[in-house]
Amino acid sequence: MPHRTFFWFILPSALAMLLFIAFPLVSVILQSLHVEHEQILVTSENCGPFGCKQSTSVDVEATALLKDAAPLGRFNGLGTYFDRGHLATAEISAAWSGTDSWGGFFSKVMNLPFYKALAFTLAYTVVVTPLVILLGLAVALGVNGLPKLLKGPTIFISLLPMIVTPLIGSLILYWMIDADGILGKGLQYIFDDPALSLKASPLLTWLTLFTYGVWHGIPFAFVVFYAGLQTVPEETLEAAMVDGASRWERIRYVVIPYMGPLFVFVALIQLMDNFRVFEPIIGFSAQANASSLSTEIYGDLLGDNAQYASAAATSTLTVIGVAILLTPVLIRTWRDFNRKVV
């Protein structure tokens, strides 16, 4: 396609992304390189309904002068990226030299907010993504084998977990797994432990979140794989049968390789979404035991003091993290693309 035609076709879409994603992305990166001006503090008597007290406040006029001189703030280079709230290089090296065992070092690192969040984010991504793909495929194969009459309703029910808003969906499940809720009581009965609570221990909280992630993710993988199954060429399957391949062997050696691109597609979307896990942690009130890069960003932005620079740095690190995770997928797409050119 000539450059000119391409340009006109892509223009509206590119313009939307440029204005609403690329520009903000640039400004986010810029912001992450700056920190706020020095706030000039004054002490004065402040009063309220509950009495008066000597107290500190910001000298607005003096601080405004500093702000007008440099609206972006003080240039800090990569300082924010390496501070304790993010990559914490100084704290890591102190932990390294201050401990003599791996365990001690590890527990010090896990005490740093960014690594704590990264640990959960990665664990979530690594556990949920393959499970979603595997179970999604299994459900797709199973549904594919159902009698025609049952297929419709089954597909419909299978899509339910995907179509409810994650924030609300996780809240509903959270109510159900309460020690007094139906699922919580059911688990207590199954494990014969009346004190069992999914909310109390870190391990159980993580497992609950993983389970939710898989529950929410399966429908997407299912619908993609189910559709893919319809396109597997009949001749190849029959040839395999003639060769005496069992049902399992047909799936293993014919169906799965044929659906390779589908695995890539689902993996791509799932990796990306799981890496940005946020809603379940809030919905399940799991902040005590689990934090993710996204909850760190929310925490920075939505408190009484919004911390834009810190949120910008974490956001940039999230994008970089996604890019690293996706590298294998990207390399594959690059090869496919070059094949297309030839």
């Binding site: 309220g48 500190t56 406040s57 924010t80 009484d304 003091n305």
Partner: protein
Amino acid sequence: MNMLRKAALGTAFAVLSGTTAIAGCGIGAGNVSIIANDFPAIHAITDAAKACEGDGLTITANMTKEHQTLNAPGMSGTPAEYSVAVVANSSIVALLNDGLVRPLDDLIAKYAPDLPNVNKVSVDGKVMAVAFMANAQHLFYRSDVLEKAGVAVPTTYEEVVAAAEAIRAAGIMEYPVALNTGAGWNLAEEFINMYMGTGGELFETGSAVPTIENENGVAALNMLKRLTEYSNPDFLTFDSNATQALWEAGDTALSVMWGSRGAAVLDNEGSSDEIVSTTVLAAAPTLGGGSTPATTLWWDGFTIASNISDEDAAASFQAMMVGISDEVVKANQDAAVWLSPVYEATPASAGVIASAQGGANPYPMLPYVGLMHSALGDNLAEFLQGSESAEQALADVVAAYTTSAKEQGFLQ
């Protein structure tokens, strides 16, 4: 419902405040645009203000849970999208820090000269907000359960722990205590309440240097831990909805909850008569032999934007004064603990008033307190789970706070 306390508390706040009378609308032309949180008391205010519309006066209100995120950007433009922001002592600081709200002294002198001092929130002598309601966390107890366990009503946290032990020992309840100890904002608020009860200061006077790494901080944490030992093991997920549900189900007998939840606890919905009729709201307990209730007092009030015309500011101020007028307070006695002379205390407000009269501290209106609050919320859960020492938890808080305070320019 238990009505006998009503007479005793009567006009507790009327003693603090003088009289105020704002008559009629007659505001004149202007644009009033309010951003506020979304709850009934504020609806009553904005509805009353909206009734004044007409004659070139337009009043719009955006009541949303996201008000805290929206009010600063919404007041930054010229002219500002919002002329009025309803804030609390925590959320006003973001607006003060950026100079987004104007001093109200001229407006008060002109339109509400009789405004009592109790309603004025001033910084360095300039009134920056008009407060209209109060709130605090305080003790809720079940008189019948305490009686059955044979303990007196606790007035200190040490007594709360002893009472909890007695209730547990008597086999009445395994987990009689509940506080809003959900990790994050709630847990941080509980710590600040306790810490205030020890008489500690969060920061060095006149600077943003934190001073919580001391024995007061450790004492506050240890008391929280002792209390959570009598809480359901899920305590790190407890928010107001959870503690209220536990209370209404009769699962707890000694809770520390928000005063603003009192009316909902005492109504007939969601709970049995046995529980409702024996629920008593009392002042927050004290701690470690101190005399100040270990809680923080909160106010809600309104501010007027800097970046609007004087005409709009005048209209906004008058409209809001109509919104918090005596008539509105009288018609909505149950909706809040109003800072108004015509407010008559209800059983639901007993705990807040008792805490205020006991001399509890206000939640500090400091420019950097939000950063401390976030740092506390993120770093205390491990101590309560027993995987970290109190000293380590406080050190983590200070490290996290220092990092963000440096990024925000409060520390160098």
